[in-house]
Symmetry: C2
Subunit: 344 residues, 2 copies
DNA sequence: TCGTTTTTCTAAATCGTTCTAGAGAATCGT
DNA sequence: ACGATTCTCTAGAACGATTTAGAAAAACGA
């Protein structure tokens, strides 16, 4: 079976390839009569419209925007934050004939994908795939604040988010804080302090997370920090890492997780041990995902879906006047935090 | 700024374009020394590898597989079934340098996307986008059973799923059943019976759903059926449609929802009205999504994630021997169904 | 009716890459 | 040392479409 191309079809109808192209792309450039004849012939020959590859090569557009997110692709659909963001993104994209390419975190894949623009989410700048994305020289919408006035991004003030948490905990009297990371360490590692930047500690977190830790630290100058890693950003990881934090002599009085999923997993582990959040141990998360309210988790809310929508708009239209958007955040205090209890 | 192409780079290094291409695609076709020189020059000129469009035009491959799902794209990330399926899909795809294109339900978008293969999910064959997908003549993996031995698909026996529910309800003594659809009707419509095929009733449901209704009907020959539509396949729709079903004189004794989300929303509405599922009204769903167990929903379980994984494998490798897979299903009886209570 | 505008269609160049076939140099086995 | 094999590299033709500039025909305005 020989492939039907625009040329084949043009010959069959007796017109030039340009005209067939116009029949599909610029209907008002030819008579309705001829256009219909072309479309009929197309149906007859089984031609289903211009080939995607040829079209995007010549036109320089592909009608797709990419999302590069998380260290691992399958988290894209299991992490509530990512799902929510994507839901917002799709809302603005779905009526535009543009499709969304979900990129695996591989430089080859990023290089290979047909895209008009892309956005990155929850990925460290140092990651090879992120570097590949930057190198492609494709239009990019970020989710973190940058200095460059040419960049476009939609972000929250992560440092301020950290400060909100820090002030809250300081006011409640907390001095011993353990921080829950999602990566950079072997799962189940607990170290004194990984937050202070130093040699060998760069790139441990994505820039957003780092800023949160800085804000936290800044507003709790008198506190001692420890660091625990669940290895991944998941409910399971939060639950698993709990044993390291809870079942030790110098248990902290507060735990701050880099994300709500991690915090929710941790809360679950506390429940198992019959510990009451907010009384025996205070727990804070970030983002305010769907389950946070039900679990009574104190967290810093950000408009995740709105973030996705705004990123979507910027991806679609690079000419938008508002190219750098800082979204509002808000500390939502629930039952998982409380004043530090007198040592038993 | 002039664009750097393979040709530019080749001239700069003093080799042929073919050689540059080989440097990227067939490293063992040239000396390591020359290859390194080419890569260095690329870095210097800011060339980040072969252009995606040119490459996919020439090679005939694009390194991407598409997913066409649901009538509306944003449901893709809010419907637990779709999310779970996608999670399975990504698991097998993420280590292959292949990306996943999420297609909006528009024929233009489907036509325009650069894809090697695609799969459809929860979409009626009659939908324009589905037709466009079929017309493209691209390799397709379906999620419904077909007769054609050349097709490849991963599916469950939807008719049998319906039968499992029907037998269960019949045994419990139910004779008045209302069926909850997700589309085909204005939201909030209640009709006598839309399941019997007939003129004007074709295409009301996707084929999978239709099969479920057939199985249900088949095993409940003595029951009377009514149909209610929430308009969409969502928790909200399930809750909204409840008023139509519950607050009327001839309330049914059992409600069968085409999906668990719909059923869960319905259960929520019952709770609001202080009705006890399984006693005042029996409710059944399909799929056994994450929330079903907690809600005590009787449902027909299918291995959603596994379905996604298998579809992914078939999308990647068309030569796979197992090209038609029927997955096992199982009726999971929980507290939302019970014997029909004597009329008060 | 005649110049002007609009409509309808086309020729030819181009987008950036990969592929096939093969040339020439280097290496190998004996 | 000679034919056979392997290693490097290249020329040139696709891949399938869109775009630009413009020709020919038709419609328009006065």
């Amino acid at each position: 079976m020989v492939r039907v191309t625009i040329k084949t079809l043009a010959e069959h109808v007796g017109v030039s390839p340009s005209t067939v192209s116009n029949a599909y792309n610029r209907p008002n450039q030819l008579s309705g009569d001829l256009r219909q004849r072309i479309l009929d012939a197309a149906a007859e020959l089984g031609y289903s419209g211009p080939d995607a590859a040829g079209r995007s090569l010549r036109s320089g557009r592909s009608g797709a925007v990419g999302v590069l997110l998380t260290e691992s692709l399958s988290y894209a659909f299991s992490d509530p934050y990512a799902v929510r963001f994507l839901a917002g993104l799709t809302q603005v994209i779905e009526h535009t004939d543009t499709s969304i390419v979900v990129l695996p975190p591989s430089p080859e894949a990023v290089q290979r994908a047909n895209l008009d623009a892309l956005t990155t989410l929850c990925i460290r700048d140092e990651h090879d795939a992120a570097k590949a994305a930057a190198a492609r020289g494709i239009r990019t919408v970020g989710t973190a604040v940058t200095d460059n006035p040419d960049d476009s991004w939609v972000a929250i003030d992560d440092r301020e988010a950290g400060r909100l948490v820090g002030r809250h905990l300081a006011r409640l009297g907390h001095r011993r804080v353990t921080v829950l990371l999602d990566n950079g360490l072997e799962p189940g590692t607990l170290t004194e302090d990984l937050l202070t930047p130093g040699p060998g500690k760069v790139g441990i977190q994505d820039p957003d997370s780092l800023a949160r830790w800085q804000g936290l630290r800044e507003t709790m100058p008198e506190a001692e920090f420890a660091t625990a890693s669940g290895g991944y950003n998941s409910y399971e990881a939060g639950r698993a890492v709990a044993s390291l934090v809870i079942d030790r002599q110098d248990r902290p009085t507060a735990v701050v997780a880099i994300s709500d999923v991690l915090a929710l997993g941790f809360l679950d582990a506390m429940r198992t041990r019959s510990l009451t959040p907010g009384r025996d141990l205070s727990v804070v998360g970030f983002d305010d995902i769907a389950g946070a309210e039900a679990a009574g988790l104190t967290t810093v809310r950000q408009p995740i879906e709105e973030k996705g929508r705004l990123v979507g708009k910027l991806l679609l239209d690079p000419e938008l006047p508002e190219r750098q958007v800082l979204l509002p955040i808000e500390l939502v205090v629930r039952s998982s935090t409380g004043p530090v209890s007198p040592t038993p």
